[in-house]
């Protein structure tokens, strides 16, 4: 890992432009006419545009855009800060920018010039056309749905052999709502367009003006099976602003919960994948392990989803030694059983037949679409926030990323299996060397802003908080699913429609975590 200023990037971004540095980011103020040029040069550094955050400018009229870049081999994210009201779209250079820009256009009413896609993203037909909820002068209140809705236009395809299959928002299974529009030729998928936003609950606006403590609850409710990851990410950002250092035991307990959440979450993915190829015997055995872990979660924190345990300054309560010893026993059982089921599943030819070469995410897609998590790692890229931008306990005890090269469903299945084994072994290690002491520390209110990054079970989670007068002025959270949904649109091409559920399940992306 290189220091930023010895990095050749120093030539591109002179140090006098630097306006701030926190745990995970270095920010530079750039002028509006330079942004495209700088973004273009950054492409040469194997960079990914992982997020664009918008805030209202503090003193003058207008908006501030925060472009968050991740550069290969650099521990900190590079943030380019731009004050502007009529920005230029970066979608042609960084395709991932398109959906971030659409979200900003919805929220703040800013139009990006040269943008490739001007359709609304999370605001559906019921919202009036000039409605922009994230503006500061808009006070959160129930709205009257628009009586003349502007219909959303799907990409159109024409041809005598083509037909369309619309699916959702209410699906056949017990899953979240989203709309999938397939264009099919014969049996194989020619195009897939995913429309989300059905679960838009206005979380970012809701957090405005809340106390920093209430923010934890809001972050937890973004997505139920990533609640600890989101709560930790938010807490880390706030603690960075407050310059609050949490006690070592709290650090261990948070890592314990993060890895426990990853394990049970990924176990449901494995169960889902084998269910979709009609191998329900293995699915049942995976689900037994998942339930065992969820019961352990309840034993540790009182919640099967580990909700309400993370707090600003530490965790809510200590976990006694005898319960931690139980964790050790549970893990030994789960690890042993898991290895058996994995070996068994991978010895069944019909499973391999369905998994192998299905739903391939090619490695060259990873950077342009800013993919992360198991999807990127199964396509041969060792991207893992825990290793690339270490936080919490991972600074002291690094964890090794697992990778697979194939990028297909089989790759993701094997990878997720191995990640659970790695996570559980990590937990097993850390419960034996957990230090004593307090689990919470007091903190002083302070204003400022900060970023934080966490690896959730689905990948890179970023959080931005800005605190003014002790309460939240801006809370923004970007989950891995937001970018990873684009991987699904590409992975299904050329596959047959009946393989779609399997490919979807192999990624298991969050709808709620995308819509906020």
């Amino acid at each position: 890992m290189t220091n930023l200023h010895t990095h050749s990037l120093g030539l591109l971004l002179p140090s006098e432009w630097m306006i701030g540095e926190d745990e995970v980011t270095v920010s530079y103020r750039v002028s509006g006419d330079r942004i495209v040029e700088i973004a273009q040069t950054l492409l040469a550094f194997e960079s990914r545009l992982v997020w664009i955050v918008c805030t209202e400018a503090e003193k003058q009229e207008g908006y501030t855009l925060w472009y968050v870049f991740e550069l290969q081999g650099l521990k900190k994210f590079v943030v380019l800060v731009l004050d502007t009201s009529n920005p230029i779209s970066l979608a042609a250079l960084y395709p991932a920018a398109s959906r971030f820009e659409r979200a900003i256009s919805d929220g703040f009413g800013i139009q990006f010039s040269d943008s490739l896609d001007k359709r609304r993203l999370f605001l559906h037909e019921p919202y009036p056309e000039d409605f922009h909820p994230m503006k500061k002068n808009y006070k959160n209140a129930p709205i009257i749905p628009s009586s003349h809705p502007v219909l959303y236009e799907f990409r159109s395809m024409e041809g005598s052999a083509l037909y369309q299959v619309p699916v959702g928002p209410v699906h056949a299974g017990i899953i979240e709502p989203g709309h999938f529009r397939f264009t099919v030729i014969g049996e194989s998928i020619l195009n897939l367009e995913i429309r989300l936003g059905y679960l838009h609950r206005g979380i970012e606006k809701l957090a405005e003006g809340c106390s920093i403590e209430k923010g934890v609850q809001i972050a937890e409710s973004v997505s139920g099976d990533e609640s600890v990851a989101h709560a930790c990410c938010y807490a880390q950002a706030v603690e960075d602003v407050l310059s609050c250092v949490i006690p070592p035991r709290a650090l261990y307990l948070r890592a314990l919960l993060l890895e426990l959440e990853r394990s049970w979450s990924l176990l449901s993915d494995l169960a889902g994948m084998v269910t979709d190829v009609a191998f329900s015997a293995a699915a049942s055995r995976f689900l037994i392990l998942r339930e065992t872990l969820q019961r352990t979660c309840e034993r540790l924190t009182g919640s099967r989803f580990l909700k309400g345990f993370v707090m600003i300054g530490g965790v809510r309560h200590d976990i006694p030694e005898e319960i931690l010893r139980e964790v050790h026993e549970v893990i030994a059982y789960v690890l042993d059983e898991l290895k058996q089921i994995l070996a068994w599943t991978l010895s069944i030819p019909s499973v391999i037949d369905r998994f192998s070469t299905t739903g391939v995410v090619r490695e060259p897609l990873v950077d342009p679409l800013a993919l992360s998590g198991p999807i990127a790692r199964a396509s041969g890229r060792a991207l893992d926030v825990r290793c690339d931008h270490p936080y919490g306990l991972y600074k002291l005890y690094p964890i090794k990323p697992v990778t697979r090269m194939t990028g297909d469903v089989l790759g993701r299945f094997e990878l997720k299996g191995e990640e659970i084994i790695t996570s559980l072994s990590y937990i097993d290690d850390l419960v034996t060397r957990m230090p004593g002491g307090p689990v919470w520390t007091e903190y002083q209110a302070k204003d400022g802003y900060a970023y934080a990054a966490v690896e959730s079970p689905r990948g890179r989670t970023l959080c931005f908080v800005k605190i003014i007068d002790g309460s939240l002025d801006r809370f923004a959270l970007s989950t891995a699913s937001f970018c990873n949904w684009m991987a699904l649109e590409h992975a299904v091409l050329g596959n047959i429609v009946p393989d779609f559920p399997l490919i979807n399940k192999s990624m298991n992306l969050s709808y709620a975590g995308t819509d906020l």
Partner: protein
Amino acid sequence: MNMNILSLFLKKPQVLQVYNPDPAFESAGLLLKKEIKWVFGKSIAIREVDCGSDNAAEIELANLSAPHYDVERFGITFVASPRHADVLAVTGVVTHAMKEALLKTYEATPDPKFVIAIGDDACTGGIYQGSYAVVGPVDAVIPVDLKIPGNPPTPVAILEGLLGLMRSAKKG
């Protein structure tokens, strides 16, 4: 008894670790089985609709079919279409974008039908009260017969809720 002599040479089937069933869940399940028989004849079919949940309630509902709970033995099935359903299980606060889909699902469900709201957000609106993006709790859009609070409710709580629903249906 007919038995293939050769089977003696087969390996004994592996015995998986046995787990203890949850007594509260088992007793609620058995009572529910009787009530379902009384009200619906044999079984009830549930269709789940997510209108703004964070996915935790969906995970618990899906859990009901997993081996530790396996509610099909009590006569409860989850179906793919509202046209096959007796009960709609609605989770989450109703967002503006999902209101129409919820109404259509409700209309597609044949009478007699019951609606249960699952989770705090579905019951009261929870932390989303007053947000621009929500219409309100489920009963702001369609009539609700039963509310099961929780964040999310546990499988036992969901089953006990269903028991309450069958009992009130019997009286009504």
